[in-house]
């Protein structure tokens, strides 16, 4: 299966890691081992960036409720376990990373429910029409689901071979990731859409993710059901474009901060960071795209 051109480092890693890999149960193929390490890296980096975003938003919300501290405290613990996993190539910390990632999905679900409650508590929520206005200025509807996505990604990066094998026997890893990408896109799309609408699409580039993410999502869905090379090309294009959107979006958001009053000036930077376009937010899309690309490469090695 992995006879075709295993890299030198891959071989070396496998030799070194082989005796310890019993911790996770069976043997991982080198492409999958590499993918797991890449996913751990992406998840850890995305989690750390999400912490920055999360801290900014909850700080702006004045930590009105004690619950708002939970993700702020929990996130760095998950990220630390992820960082340890990445640094040791999976030899240490992977199990903790897996357990913490599972716990993070629970945090996400509680957060999601609490955000909806926060929106519904605002004046005018007795009429459905006001929901959009309240969502614009209440807790962001789908934001906590990012923790769900990252939790699942962390589980993928840390699940023991024994647990993952039955799944991967039925669905190859690249198709699994295509389905994961497709599931991630709708909440991201909705969140970006309604928040860019709040900004009146004043910059035409705000339409880019709103118009193109559904196409990437549709391509991912279609590709999840096929092993054809066309499906791979579509999935790569979808993930590549998603990653590009994330990178460009970060650039646009940083530019957007500059356009606010005082821009990056010493006395305005923090205020603008808190109230302007969330600079770290598009990095979540970059992470999703990179995870998809990594899975395609691992899948291609099958």
């Amino acid at each position: 299966m992995f006879r075709d051109r295993p890299s030198r480092t891959g071989r070396a890693l496998r030799r070194k890691a082989a005796p310890r890999s019993h911790v996770g149960g069976g043997e991982w193929s080198p492409p999958l081992r590499r993918l797991r390490n890449e996913l751990a890296l992406i998840t850890t980096a995305s989690t750390a960036l999400l912490w920055l975003d999360n801290l900014s938003e909850h700080y702006r919300g004045g930590f009105q409720r004690k619950l708002m501290y939970v993700p702020i405290v929990a996130n760095p613990i998950v990220a630390a376990a992820g960082a340890l996993t990445v640094a040791t190539g999976g030899r240490r910390g992977r199990k903790a990373f897996g357990l913490l990632s599972a716990a993070q999905t629970a945090v996400a679900i509680v957060g999601f429910v609490e955000h909806q409650r926060g929106i519904l508590k605002r004046p005018g929520s007795n009429t459905p029409r006001d929901l959009l206005f309240n969502a614009w200025y209440g807790p962001p509807v789908a934001a906590p689901l990012q923790y769900l996505g990252l939790g699942l990604l962390g589980l993928m990066a840390s699940a023991p071979q024994s647990a993952a094998a039955p799944v991967l026997d039925r669905v190859p890893v690249d198709r699994l990731m295509r389905a994961f990408t497709a599931l991630n896109i709708p909440p991201l799309w909705a969140e970006i859409g309604y928040l860019h609408a709040r900004g009146s699409f004043q910059n035409r580039a705000q339409w880019l993710p709103v118009v193109t993410l559904p196409i990437a999502g549709a391509a991912s869905v279609a590709a999840a059901f096929s092993d054809s090379s066309t499906a791979r090309i579509a999935a790569k294009a979808a993930s590549g474009w998603t990653a590009l959107l994330g990178a460009a979006g970060t650039g646009f958001h940083l530019y957007g901060l500059h356009r606010r009053y005082g821009g990056y000036g010493r006395r305005s930077a923090l205020f603008n960071w808190l109230n302007g376009p969330p600079a770290p937010a598009p990095m979540q899309i970059l992470g999703l795209g990179l995870a998809g690309l990594a899975a395609e490469r691992a899948g291609a090695a099958r």
Binding site: R122, P123, G124, G199, S200, Q202, N275
Partner: protein
Amino acid sequence: MRRHEEVDAVIVGVGASGGVLVKKLAEAGWRVVGLDAGPHWNPHEDFVSDERTMHKLYWRDRRVTGGDDPIELAGNVTGRGVGGSTVHYSMYALRMHRSDFEVRTRDGVASDWPLSYEDLEPYYEEVEHELGIAGPVDWPWDAPRRGAYPYRPHKLNGVGEVLARGCDALGIQWRPGAIATLSAPKQERPPCVYRGWCIYGCTTDAKSSTLVTYVRAAQKAGAEIRPNSMAFRVNTDPSGRARSVSYYRTDEHGQVHEEEQAARVVIVSGYSIETPRLLLMSASAQHPDGLANASGMVGKGLMVHSSDIVFGRMPEPVSMFKAPPPNTITQDFYETDPANDFVRGYSVQTVGPLPIKFAQNVASSLGLWGTDLREFMYDYVHYAGLGLVGETLPEDRNGVTLHPDETDQYGLPIPAVSFGWGENDSKLKTAGVARQKQILEAAGAQATFAASDTAHLMGGCRMGSDPSDSVVDRDCAAWDVSGLYICDGSVFVTSSASNPSLTIQAIAARTADRLVAAGRRHEL
């Protein structure tokens, strides 16, 4: 005396209306000069966070106020300087309702406008886009709008939530206000930072006064804005056509020079006191009662809005000074309701006076002073204020005349303003104040008090379809004097229950288009 070379148009007063005119005419290729009696402010340097200092934005020249119910003249009803009162207005950018244009037909009072809502609709849209009005997704009052507001609404502030809660409890519809401050960037202008000093001059350019919108665009298009230039006479030629404007210009050393600007078209945009005053001061042998005054209507039919504020003390801090004070609104009581003992209606809007203004309200309404006032003021952050915009019907006895003896710093006769409430106005006002109180109490106010006030000026040179009872026609052209246009809030026929700025600007945008079209047809 310096005589300037003739231009295509000279506009007297570069405020809400004048700003729109200079920009649109200059962009149409006209050579345009805008005269303004006050300075050309630089918001970044001239505006500070100090209530008293920023009173410099008001027109504080000598005036006499009188009548049965004299109104305050040196405050926020007028502005001085380029941008006029849009520099300090509270930014509600509301369209008048369709019914406002036909009150004689519908309610049997005042007169119908020579314009309809449909005439102004495209210009409302144009101005809303130019200013970047942030408004609610839907506007439930009057007939539906053709399009959405260009920018999304601002978030609710403390008072906004109070109005919203009160209205929800009473089954009254409310919306975030449609206001002229940006909720997202527009060209070089940044979105609002919710500093809360809007009505004392915005230092960030987020507020869409004509000073930072239309006037900047006008200057880019080549218009000349001449500040510190107080017009005192519109000159006519022997054929009776308006030819030039004489004005006193104060130079940087404080020296006053008399100058004259000749133009093919003279447009007076000085608002409801200074416009009639200038026309009356331009009296000559040819026009003994003042310019454009054959009907005798110049200076008559002045209207204000009853703008009583009811304050409610809330259990929790409200901090009404945060974010744009115009935050939420209800117009559920705007139209004539047969159940009332009056016709027409009112809007209820949030307000957010800063501490000195609030202290003034407390002192004058509750009679508190000294220690009592100081102790009362400790509760400032707990107060939420709801303001009224109540329609006032025009009456000929309310208006502007020239004072027979008193003169101002230029030696010009000062205006004498006379105002008194009509019976309908008073009943409407009483009902409005009761409603404000009811909303505050439904929101949980522990105690309320009302402060009496007026806002806005309208009328004084009304438009009409009959030269015998109006000063200008529907295109703002003076009936009696060719080449003379009057375009500002003074042409209003009725006051409506909406803040007037957007309608003033829509009329100006329409007038500019009509002038440009007439120019192309060589009819000027």
